[in-house]
């Protein structure tokens, strides 16, 4: 299991996943806003 407080490499991996998830969410919100 990835623990962002165990090591910097785990923290970096979590950051990358986090950025990807946020980007997807923002994209969905912007698309929904544009369509409505």
């Amino acid at each position: 299991m990835t623990n962002p407080l165990r090591s910097e490499s785990d923290a970096f991996r979590v950051l990358v996943y986090f950025v990807a998830v946020v980007a997807v969410i923002v994209l969905i919100v912007l698309v929904v806003r544009a369509l409505t």
Partner: protein, 200 residues
């Protein structure tokens, strides 16, 4: 006589601390610190939520402009700095001293650039924190994050100086791991601030 003096020395002062936790002390310290900082950001985001969602105030405030493109560039700068500090840590683990030093210097300079751009943005915004509730929460959230960047830069400066002095080895570099974790936390916080304040 010797046994008595040894017994005296063993009983002198407080007993050693009980270490039953499997968590290392520096990591526990960083965990508690990050948790407290998440609480502070949570409080500020709650204020933002009440101003924008609960009270239906316009965002941004009428007559004001929020510079998304400048903030977008700043986001790219801060994300790059996370890449460079990761490079520095990978380098120290593989004994690559050039990568270690270059990575730390690059991380510090990128962080400093971020902060400089942020301050420059404040100067050219054209509206002050007291102009509206929206302005207050904008300056509060970005300013709080900027303060965290400043703290991180202080830590990065110390790490960089120590890196140049040869204090880190592939076996012993915990003094780099903890600031590296903190820097990624600062970056993650900026992603949240950027998407809620500037983008959405």
């Amino acid at each position: 006589m010797e046994a008595a003096s040894i017994a005296h020395a063993e009983h002198h002062g407080p007993p050693p601390a009980h270490r039953s936790s499997r968590v290392k002390a520096p990591m526990l310290g960083m965990l508690l610190f990050i948790m407290s900082e998440v609480m502070i950001f949570g409080a500020f985001f709650t204020a933002y939520f009440f101003i924008r969602i609960v009270n239906h105030n316009a965002w941004p405030a009428p007559g004001t402009v929020i510079p998304e493109s400048v903030a977008g560039i700043n986001t790219a700068i801060l994300l790059s700095s996370s890449l460079t500090i990761h490079w520095a840590l990978v380098s120290v683990k593989t004994g690559n001293r050039f990568g270690l030093k270059a990575g730390m210097v690059a991380t510090f300079l990128l962080g400093l650039t971020f902060l400089t751009v942020q301050v420059n943005e404040y100067i050219h915004l054209g509206w002050a924190p007291h102009d509206s509730a929206q302005a207050t929460v904008f300056y509060a959230l970005t300013g709080l994050h900027g303060a965290h960047v400043f703290i991180g830069l202080c830590a990065l400066l110390i790490v960089s100086i120590r890196a140049f002095r040869g204090h880190y080895t592939p076996e012993e570099h915990q003094g780099m791991e903890v600031p590296g974790i903190y820097w990624h936390f600062v970056d993650a916080m900026w992603i949240i601030v950027f998407t809620t304040i500037y983008v959405l």
